[in-house]
């Protein structure tokens, strides 16, 4: 369970997050939507401290991760993250990309890590790319490898920061499919995305953010079919009619 209390983030004078409090329960699939610049990505990146909050606390399974004494590396190792730009390691093969962290952090020995990598590659349908370098892969393949790399750490939670935003349209489907499968396995997921149809399909709760605040939230049916706030309606009318 992730409990966020009074989270604020400023970049200089700019207030990106304003006093956000929210609880994410185990097994939830949360999708965060909102216009660009609304703070969605920043909020997500605060959850594993890639951004340091200006004030407020984030408690994960009763560990306050904003406490400087907390071993943030350990927290992060149980929290996978998938980035918009994949961020695969270009100097390592697909296999090495996946096994690097589990081996370096001594969670597995080499052969265990390799077995796990094979299993994950099978799952994302890219077993045949095991010895390729990332430069040889398409965007969709890269993102599926990035998901496999995060899963190799057996995280309790997965964070997705616009995972399909830099993909060609025909490759979006293959990534979303992997994510749906992950969701059906019971993984706790927090997803920032612009894919509204997918958001509706995968989430049990949608957060609509604007100007650094969670303006409205609810089940996908509630939020998409019966939005209460004017700002939510304005945003949805823009993205849904397209």
């Amino acid at each position: 369970m992730i409990i966020v209390e009074n989270l604020n983030k400023k970049f200089g004078e700019l207030e990106v997050l304003r006093d956000i409090s929210e609880t994410i329960y185990n097994g939830e699939k949360i999708v965060i939507i909102g216009p660009s610049g609304s703070g969605k990505s920043t909020f997500l990146r605060c959850l594993n401290l890639l951004e340091t909050p200006t004030s407020g606390t984030i408690t994960i399974d009763s560990v306050d991760i904003t406490d400087p004494k907390t071993d943030i590396n350990k927290v992060r190792s149980q929290m996978g993250m998938v980035f918009q730009n994949f961020n695969l390691f270009p100097h390592l093969t697909v296999l090495q990309n996946i096994t690097l962290a589990p081996i370096q952090l001594k969670l597995m020995n080499e052969s265990e890590a390799r077995d796990k990598a094979r299993y994950l590659l099978e799952r994302v349908g890219l077993m045949d790319k095991i010895d390729e370098y990332p430069g040889r892969l398409s965007g969709g393949q890269k993102q599926r490898i990035a998901i496999a790399r995060a899963l190799a750490m057996s995280p309790k939670t997965m964070l997705f920061d616009e995972p399909t935003s830099s993909l060609d349209p025909e490759m979006i489907g293959e990534v979303l499919e992997v994510m749906l499968e992950l969701a059906s396995d019971g993984m706790t997921m927090v997803i920032v995305t612009h894919e509204m149809g997918f958001a509706r399909k995968i989430s049990n709760r949608i957060l609509f953010m604007d100007e650094g605040m969670i303006v409205e939230q609810g089940s996908p049916d509630q939020l998409f079919d019966n939005p209460q706030k004017e700002r939510t309606r304005a945003f949805l009318s823009k993205v849904l009619t397209r």
Partner: protein, 238 residues
């Protein structure tokens, strides 16, 4: 006309004999080359170690992990080294710092040039590390790897590859810079050529020979770099 050419040719032949054959003077050049290579090799090794350490301190500043005293030392070091001539640094190290210590001059030269090269290598590595996409550090950290581990396993391998041409360039500069080692009477290649000139009063051939030897070494180094670059490009599928 023919006579003049014939005459100058025979002088040349005689000079060549005096410059290189008498007293086995060609061996001076060989020994000098040995010293030059030794100094260059030791200095570049030292320079890379110092450069790497200084670069790591400097980029940790860039990554918002300031190490107060160390980063000030690193900044001052680069400023002083880059702001003063290498010859002056060499003289200070030999005549001031090691004034009352009996130490091999070759080692003093290697130390001085290594300290000098370190500042330039530091800037090369710093630029190389900063040229690696920011997302690489984030991806490493998001997997639970520490800053140091991410640096070692993810950032540095990519950075070093990016900086290889600049590093070779620095090595070539360093090789030629060691020519001033004669200032503290190290018998390097340049010094050897100059000694022959002083002995035979013929400046042309000994100095030409010295220049030619430097040129050949630089050519070999360039060849080596091209080979290495092609080798690395093979595993580079970006």
């Amino acid at each position: 006309m023919n006579m003049i050419i014939a005459l100058s040719f025979s002088t040349l032949k005689e000079n060549f004999y005096n410059d290189f054959i008498v007293d086995n003077r060609w061996k001076w050049l060989v020994d000098g080359l040995g010293v030059t290579l030794k100094v260059t090799l030791m200095a570049s090794f030292l320079g890379i170690i110092i450069g790497l350490l200084v670069a790591l301190v400097k980029v940790s500043q860039f990554h918002g992990r300031k190490i107060p005293v160390l980063s000030q030392i690193a900044d001052a070091y680069v400023l002083v080294i880059r702001g003063t001539p290498a010859v002056v640094q060499l003289l200070i190290i030999y005549y001031v710092i090691f004034a009352s210590v009996a130490i091999d001059k070759v080692l003093v030269a290697a130390l001085a040039f290594g300290l000098n090269s370190g500042a330039y290598v530091a800037e090369i590595f710093r630029a190389g590390i900063q040229s690696v996409d920011r997302g690489q550090m984030e991806a490493g950290r998001s997997l639970g790897l520490s800053y140091g581990l991410t640096m070692r396993k993810i950032i540095l391998p990519q950075a070093v590859k990016n900086t290889l041409p600049a590093l070779f360039n620095e090595l070539i500069t360093l090789l030629k810079e060691t020519a001033v080692a004669g200032y503290i009477a190290v018998a390097d290649l340049t010094r050897a050529g100059d000694l022959i000139r002083a002995r035979t009063f013929d400046p042309l051939l000994p100095l030409l020979a010295v220049a030619l030897i430097y040129l050949v070494i630089v050519l070999l180094l360039t060849r080596l770099m091209n080979l290495l670059e092609r080798r690395l490009a093979r595993s580079d599928h970006r």
